[in-house]
Amino acid sequence: MENTLSTSFSESLTQKIEALKDHYPHGREKSALLPALHLVQAEFGWLSTPSMDSVAHILGIKPIEVYEVATFYTMFHVKPVGKYVLEVCHTSPCCLNGAEDLLKHIQNKLSIQIGETTADGLFTLKTVECLAACGMAPVLQIGPDYTYHEHLTPEKVDALIADLSQKK
């Protein structure tokens, strides 16, 4: 059963995860878990249970060890999300520079609430805590490659959304 699960990954993804193990001492392969989950999420957009089971298989750990980690860290999506995840910082320094109005603007623009995904599956809107870019507030990042967009205004966000909508 374990073998069938691991085959859900492409050979190149499996190899990339295998290669991560080299960074940690023998017997400590579990250390590669966070970087491995990032690789899997970059490929599939989110972490399904079978994909987490495959990671467990490759790293030689129990599936529960993967689930408990995946659900602890906020970057990992354990449910499907849109192609682009807009993560808007709403911690104090960003709020001092208009993050709350910006969030409302995006909600209206995309007709979704925080935590929801647009009907076309393109955008998910999330709030996140401090992204360590407070001098460039307000800030949002876009998964899956985690580009930061800084000094945002409603106009800049409109342009960004238009750009991503065209790319699809």
């Binding site: 911690t91 001092l96 805590e129 870019a133």
Partner: protein
């Protein structure tokens, strides 16, 4: 501009590449360090008076000298690049603009500590910075600055970059080590300290990005030269992340001892308050440190000018002072709502609590709820004392300092801005449509 130790070459075009970095004198400290030997390097760092730049301010040289050295057991150096303290964005800046400075620091520090595998634990959100560091590390392997027999010294070092997953708590050193081992970021009970039992139960030093990036300068110029910069026990320079209602937000490398007033109002630094408004309050060292009203951040209670240093910022204790912390300097203008800001910070800590200790897990949630109802016009007068009570029950009662970090902003906001909290209870409808502004006390001193 005062002396620049970290950012001197940050604006040189192409400084991210090894070639340009070396032309600017980069990696000179490595040659010197390999000849000096570990014990002398530790001695120079001790002499420098460098204190941990992550927030705690513990002397770096002393931390290094505590590292246990049992025979046959590997030792590790781990760089804490999990920058997440609200208001702090200096490490991200340093890694983006001058990545080789951190790597050079990692190599000399690893050599000093006898580590052969070192890790830079970078916040997961900083994927672009992770790629920058990985490229820089590859350049170093190719040039013989990393790997086996570095510069024919016989010293071997592998340097690894490890991404986090989005958790403020992993900035706490033992949570970071748990995370590096592929687990949830639950802080460990100390002792044992990482210096005795850290990564994989081996002796480990965990240092902030900025602390490590300073070491090449100390080796090149000597610990004594470093100790002469700054003021008193706050030696050297400090990267300050300036944000909020100021004209020039950004990263500034200041010499310790710069007057706070100059930092806020000089065009060289923050350039004053945006839109010509008046200053209301400052959080000087990241969201965890006590917030101070304008008059107390500019001058100590004894009327002396407040300086950017560990000692001056903490002058007066928590009654009238604060902390330098991580140097996350957030400025609030006269229209800022302290209740809303406190609620914002508390929501952050509730979100980021790992959930291991009940006082923090439950207490941060209660404080968030009470602050929310105060901000949204449903508060009662005894809610204010309730908040103080809950914050006291969290403080000092948790495994790691996140509990304290959550308690202090609440306690200090009420200590210094109680009238504004009371106004939210007395005038709930007004509080929904306008800000309280400056208090009567502040208007007198403003």
């Amino acid at each position: 501009m005062s002396i620049q130790i970290l950012l001197e070459h940050a604006k040189v075009p192409g400084i991210q590449t090894l070639e340009v970095y070396r032309k600017q004198g980069g990696y000179a400290s490595l040659d010197k360090a390999l000849k000096m030997g570990p014990a002398d390097i530790v001695e120079e760092v001790k002499k420098s008076g460098l204190r941990g730049r992550g927030g705690a301010g513990f002397p770096t040289g002393m931390k290094w000298s505590f590292l246990a050295k049992p025979e046959g057991v590997p030792r590790y150096l781990v760089c804490n690049a999990d920058e997440s303290e609200p208001g702090t964005f200096k490490d991200r800046h340093l890694m983006t603009t001058i990545p080789h400075l951190l790597i050079e620091g990692m190599i000399v520090s690893s050599f000093a500590l006898g580590a052969h595998d070192s890790y830079i634990y970078v916040r997961g959100e900083m994927m672009p910075q992770i790629r920058i560091l990985q490229n820089a590390i590859e350049e170093c392997y190719a040039a013989g600055l990393l790997g086996k027999n570095i510069l024919n010294s016989g010293y071997d070092l592998n340097l690894h970059v490890h991404p986090g997953g989005g958790a403020y708590i992993c900035g706490e050193e033992t949570a970071l080590l748990e995370s590096l081992e592929g687990k949830r970021g639950n802080p460990r009970i100390k002792p044992p300290f990482p210096a005795v039992s850290g990564l994989y139960n081996c002796p480990t030093v965990v240092n902030n990005v900025e602390s490590i990036a300073v070491t090449p300068w100390i080796i090149n110029n000597g610990g004594e030269a470093y100790s002469k910069i700054g003021i008193g026990k706050s030696t050297g320079t400090k990267l300050i992340s300036a944000s909020g209602h100021i004209n020039n937000p950004g990263i500034y490398e200041i010499e310790m001892g710069l007057p706070v007033e100059e930092f806020i109002y000089s065009d060289q630094y923050c350039g004053g308050i945006k839109n010509g408004k008046r200053l209301k309050a400052v959080v000087a060292g990241g969201s965890s440190v006590p917030i101070l009203p304008a008059h107390l951040i500019l001058k100590t209670v004894n009327g002396e000018p407040r300086l950017m240093s560990y000692e001056s910022l903490s002058d007066g204790g928590f009654a009238t002072g604060t902390m330098l912390g991580s140097g996350g300097f957030i400025v609030y203008d006269e229209d800022s709502c302290i209740v809303r800001n406190t609620w914002n910070f508390t929501r952050f800590y509730h979100h980021e609590s790992c959930g291991q200790c009940s006082p923090c897990r439950e207490g941060t949630g209660w404080m968030e709820k009470v602050l929310h109802r105060l901000e949204y016009g449903h508060g009662k007068m005894n809610d204010i004392d309730l908040l103080v009570d809950v914050s006291k029950k969290i403080e000092g009662n948790t495994i790691c300092p996140l509990g304290d970090a959550a308690a202090w902003p609440v306690a200090s906001a009420i200590r210094h801005f109680r009238d504004e909290f009371e106004w939210h209870v007395k005038e709930p409808k007004q509080a929904l449509i306008r800000n309280y502004g400056l208090s009567q006390d502040q208007l007198v001193t403003a």
